[in-house]
């Protein structure tokens, strides 16, 4: 039952069930947690550490963790000494001891969590406070990165907005274009078609195929340059000045066109895959009722194919978030362009790239999560694939 539940609630329920049950290797697992807590405790306290005000408590915690590790070592010694009869002879396997160990493991995890918050989260907060108040870039790595992020937040935000706009608009526009284009791509000549229809079907399918081959077979960075500079030259053929042309044909517009062009080709292929995975019997049944190729496609095959293609299609948004970074080659002010700008300002490209990778990761994870929710909502009635042989067979005895 639980396995059918998904998402946040299901994950929490599974974690709770894991914590509540008894585990054979509870000492093995939690001794590692305890060791991590001891390691955290040995690290210097950050400025905002709250444990600094409770020195005694931390000492007690440290020795409690050490005791837990020692206890684990004793249990391990028992296990090694009485390998075969361990389950029967060890004091650690008695029910009362097992229960005590489980409660002990809760305490160990809680103490390590407190130490992790004190050292890691408060360490970040301390570094942030330093970065925000500093006038020039501080030398320590973390403070330095946070200083760059805070000091150039306007630049990062500008790039962030552009990247999100490029990815979202690009994906949405490309989706609708792909819907149109995939119809051309999958046309097959039906014997009822006259020569006019035949010609356009063949020409349309050929165009869609050629388009997909060219776009998918060349780097996006090159396409961006061809589109930006090519259209720019076309505009220059008119009487417009360079400034006027730049006003119309901006780097953002060229970037968006590049993304749409690319995404359309990939989404078209994903849609085609979805449509082709619909059982051929669906088309046959529709045709046997008298529906035309087009009617059968539109009412029966296409809706099912799009549903099959949804996971692949939503993936395209995540890809666009990442791939829009190549547009900085034509000067589109996206997150990547912002990163190289900021990195140049402080002569610190590595820190800037590290910062941006975190921002990109957050963006793509958010997008994946949102798309997962969206797909789950669309998939209100998942089609269970199966045949009659899956039906339970009741054997009558006589």
């Amino acid at each position: 039952m639980d396995s059918t539940r998904s998402g946040m609630g299901g994950a929490l329920a599974r974690m709770a069930a894991f914590a509540r049950s008894e585990h054979r290797y509870v000492l093995l697992g939690t001794s590692a947690v305890a060791a991590a807590g001891m390691a955290l405790s040995s690290r210097p306290r950050p400025a905002l550490s709250f444990m600094a005000h409770a020195y005694g408590v931390e000492v007690v915690m440290y020795y409690a963790l050490a005791a837990w590790v020692a206890l684990s070592a004793v249990a391990l010694a028992f296990k090694l000494a009485r390998w075969r009869t361990y389950a029967k002879t060890s004091p650690f396997t008695r029910p009362a001891a097992v229960r005590a160990l489980r409660y002990g493991s809760y305490a160990v995890c809680a103490m390590t969590l407190v130490l992790a918050i004190d050292r890691i989260a408060m360490g970040l907060a301390s570094a942030w406070r330093v970065a925000v108040t500093a006038d020039t870039r501080p030398e320590p790595m973390l403070e330095s990165m946070l200083f760059m992020l805070y000091d150039s937040r306007a630049i990062f935000f500008e790039g962030f907005k552009t990247t999100v706009a490029l990815a979202v608009f690009g994906t949405v526009i490309a989706f609708f274009l792909a819907l149109l284009l995939v119809f051309l791509r999958i046309q097959v000549v039906d014997r009822a078609d006259n020569d006019f229809v035949r010609f356009w079907k063949v020409a349309g399918a050929g165009f869609a195929k050629a388009y997909s081959t060219v776009v998918r077979g060349t780097p996006m960075m090159v396409q961006a340059m061809i589109i930006f500079f090519g259209v720019f030259s076309l505009f220059k053929l008119t009487s417009l000045t360079t400034t006027q042309v730049n006003g119309i044909w901006s780097t953002f517009a060229a970037g968006l066109v590049t993304i749409v062009l690319n995404s359309t080709a990939y989404m078209m292929e994903v849609l085609r895959g979805g449509i082709e995975s619909v059982d051929a019997g669906q088309m046959e049944a529709a045709r046997s009722l008298g529906l035309s190729q087009w009617q059968a496609m539109r009412k029966v095959v296409f809706p099912q194919g799009v549903k099959f293609a949804i996971p692949g299609l939503s993936n395209e948004l995540v890809i666009n978030i990442k791939d829009s970074s190549v547009l900085s080659v034509i000067g589109t002010f996206d997150l990547m362009f912002a990163t190289t700008t900021v990195g140049g300002m402080y002569y610190r490209q590595f820190e800037a790239a590290l910062l941006t990778s975190v921002i990109y990761l957050c963006l793509t994870m958010c997008a994946s999560w949102l798309l997962g929710r969206f797909a789950a909502r669309l998939d209100v009635r998942p089609v269970k694939l199966g045949s009659t042989s899956d039906q339970p067979v009741n054997v009558e005895e006589n």
Partner: protein, 255 residues
């Protein structure tokens, strides 16, 4: 060679198949098949797997395009170049081995799709017709069920109702019970018996010999792409003339 419609000698037949040939690559599946089906007649086609039964059936509504020969349906040559195949298919119902219910629609929409799209029937009228046909196959209660939730026998009965909603003049059955558990074959055969009683013209490809024997007016035995023998069911099942028919029916002849 062109034949205009008035020159076709139908002799009161509904379907006339002449010199039909079909190959898949090097494999010759149909070799010169001739068959007539009269209105109201129930014809069952039997034969070993690979003998061309299903291909012959699928040629009747042109799901397979024949390489040579003619298929006439009520005076129109389906194999002619610019014939309105879609229009003719409206009068030829078909039921498949794999049911092929539209998975993106519920049972009622499966039944009303074609009437609403092709016969320009109002939604309400089409639903009334569909419910009547679902009632006759005993599935009116499942009108709003998703196909995936039905059992095989129920799916096949819906498929029959869906075909009947177009008010076809002939029904083609392509091994309608082969994908079903033995114990639910009966409910589908019962619906088909009812159809036959009501005078529907039917061509049935089947391995259900009992059905072929008791329901059909004529049994056609196909062997390696040709019709080896055809005749009245009693004669076919008691004293078949062709040695290959005798070999194929050996199991049923004994009982």
């Amino acid at each position: 060679m062109s034949m205009n419609e008035s020159a076709v000698p139908m002799d009161g037949c509904m379907v006339r198949i002449e010199g039909l040939r079909k190959s898949f690559g090097d494999l010759e599946v149909l070799r010169d098949v001739n068959l007539d089906v009269a209105p109201g007649e129930v014809v069952t086609i039997i034969g070993a797997s690979g003998s061309g039964k299903s291909t012959l059936l699928r040629c009747i509504n042109l799901l397979e395009t024949p390489d040579a020969g003619h298929v006439w349906f009520e005076g129109s040559d389906l194999t002619a170049d610019h014939v309105d195949v879609n229009g003719l298919r409206e009068d030829i119902g078909m039921v498949f081995q794999g049911f092929n219910l539209f998975n993106n629609m519920d049972v009622l929409d499966n039944c009303t799709l074609a009437p609403v799209t092709l016969k320009k029937m109002g939604k309400a009228e089409a639903e009334a017709v569909a419910l009547a046909h679902l009632e006759s196959v005993g599935l009116a209660d499942f009108a709003h069920a998703a196909p995936a939730t039905l059992s095989g026998g129920q799916k096949q009965r819906v498929a029959i109702a869906r075909a009947l909603c177009m008010n076809p003049k002939i029904m083609l059955f392509d091994e309608p019970t082969s994908a079903l558990d033995p114990q639910i074959v009966g409910e589908v055969l019962e619906v088909m018996r009812g159809l036959a009683r009501d005078g529907m013209t039917m061509v049935v490809v089947t391995h259900e010999m009992e059905f072929a024997r008791t329901v059909s007016d004529r049994v056609v035995f196909m062997d390696r792409g040709v019709i080896a023998e055809q005749g009245e069911p009693e004669q076919m099942f008691t004293e078949p003339a062709h040695p290959r028919t005798r070999a194929f029916l050996a199991r049923y002849l004994r009982s």
